[in-house]
């Protein structure tokens, strides 16, 4: 027996640490158990955006607003800048059809309270002088922000530990069962057992596997996202960049985008963000290749080809690293947050796919509230039980 706690959080990524931190703040005795080392999972291999513009009006956008406010207060609370910055973001539009879809989308977002507008070509080039000729317009939101995931995790962990939270590394969970008192017994690869009445499954792409150890059902698919990192370079324009291409196809069903077979296979999309370290993170792919976290020549080349075609000045920039993370994807694109029906005390907080950094603080806070007895009515649509029907089909 290695210890008993009020809550065991399985998964020491940014979501797990946020859950652990907010639970600890509410007075719970918490252990965060991580299979690998610091930031070994998707949180250590992602870009750092807190992005609003990609989100459809609805719960995700709403939570993103709240998360942004939490980030602002965390900067003071955790006594660190967290790499929090507010460069704003632009979604690049390359033809009239895309423009029409984006205009409609921007109007919806505006009515939801997002500060976003369409820039014409001239205004766009003023903010982004290095763009290739092919874009006719862009959106612009000054709200799109970013945080440095490593700093956020390091400080959540550090402050949490100061308040009594335990963070245990290199401890893959191998079993979850109930003991006679109704507590969960969580055992790890080192043959250690931790007990607590509440378990939070925050294992990202592995959430389905970990849930299964407890007999719960979580439909989670890993999506490999490859990203390349450049050397430190002077700023390329004022803002972070995305392209409308894939956004439009997601927003408008039946919208045919012009992509090669390879691009489709890789799920290639363009995301270009300046990091705290003055380099750029350029993404990314979205691939279904199981739990294979390796980077590939094909993926790197596709990302680079796309990046250079959009920002030609990048051709003379060195890329120094390629990384890949497994983004946790759910069937409906919304995260899973809540207690499993019929399994008192067993929660899942996972499935953020590309929004882990954006939504980490709000996820942790809502989860902690939930465990402590305050349930937010909006969260019904994020409940793990929304997939109960599928679970029956599976079993």
């Amino acid at each position: 027996m290695a210890g008993s706690y009020d809550v065991i959080v399985i998964g020491g990524g940014i979501i797990g640490l946020s859950c652990g931190y907010y639970l600890t703040k509410q007075g719970k005795r918490v252990a965060v158990i991580e299979a690998g080392g610091f930031a070994d999972g998707a949180s250590g291999a992602c870009d750092d955006m807190i992005l609003f513009q990609s989100k459809k009006p609805g719960i995700n956008l709403e939570l993103a607003f709240e998360s942004l406010e939490l980030y602002k207060s965390l900067v003071g609370e955790l006594d660190d800048s967290l790499g929090f910055a507010n460069y704003g973001g632009m979604v690049l539009i390359q033809n009239q059809q895309e423009l029409e879809v984006m205009e409609e989308f921007v109007t919806q977002q505006q009515s939801y309270g997002l500060d976003v507008k369409i820039l014409d070509r001239k205004e766009m080039l003023r903010k982004q002088p290095f763009l290739s000729d092919r874009f006719i317009a862009s959106t612009y939101s000054p709200m799109d922000s970013q945080a440095y995931p490593f700093a956020v995790m390091h400080k959540l962990s550090g402050k949490g530990r100061k308040l009594g939270m335990q963070v245990i590394h290199k401890s893959p969970v191998t079993g979850i069962e109930k003991d006679g008192n109704g507590d969960y017994r969580v055992s790890t690869g080192q043959n250690l057992t931790y007990t607590a009445p509440v378990v939070v499954n925050a294992t990202g792409a592995w959430a389905g596997k970990v849930a299964a150890l407890a007999g719960a059902y979580v439909p989670m698919e890993p999506r490999r996202g490859q990203i390349i990192i450049t050397e430190k370079v002077p700023a390329v324009g004022e803002t972070n960049l995305w392209t409308a291409k894939y956004l439009v196809s997601k927003l408008k069903s039946g919208f045919e985008i012009d992509s090669t077979e390879e691009e489709k296979r890789l799920g290639l999309g363009f995301a270009f963000t300046r990091t705290e370290g003055d380099s750029y993170l350029i993404g990314s792919t979205r691939e279904s290749v199981g739990y294979d976290k390796r980077t590939t020549m094909e993926g790197i080349r596709a990302i680079i080809n796309q990046a250079v075609s959009i920002v030609p000045v990048l051709k003379d920039v060195n890329f120094i690293r390629a990384i890949a993370g497994l983004r946790p994807a759910t069937p409906d694109g919304k995260m899973i947050l809540g207690e499993h029906a019929g399994m008192k005390g067993f929660y899942t907080a996972a499935g953020h796919e590309g929004d882990g950094i954006s939504l980490a603080p709000i996820t942790g806070k809502l989860l902690a509230d939930m465990v402590c007895g305050t349930t937010d009515a909006r969260l019904g649509e994020l409940s793990p039980n929304r997939f109960a029907k599928d679970a029956k089909e599976v079993s």
């Binding site: 550090g158 050397e231 430190k232 370290g277 003379d316 920039v317 120094i320």
Partner: protein, 97 residues
Amino acid sequence: MAEDKDFFICRCEEVTLREIEQVIDEGYDTLDDVKRITRAGMGLCQGRSCSKVIARIISQKTGKPIEEVLQVSYRFPVRTEKMKALEQGGGSDATDN
């Protein structure tokens, strides 16, 4: 003067001995942990001149054997390259190990 710890271990990212020791004192005891938190070794030279030094500092402070600390994974490209080198380039559909 001998106690001065405000000099760089990682030249590229300008990370000092003091910063590295602080992170190790917090309980982080692998090269990857220290790199991710301090950014040491994440710069243009990719840790060529500092990885071994950081490993030695970790080993000295934690008592972990140096060979254990030095076990790190390498990723390609092992040299930094300009993007144009890959822009039109060939290459198999090979996978990193």
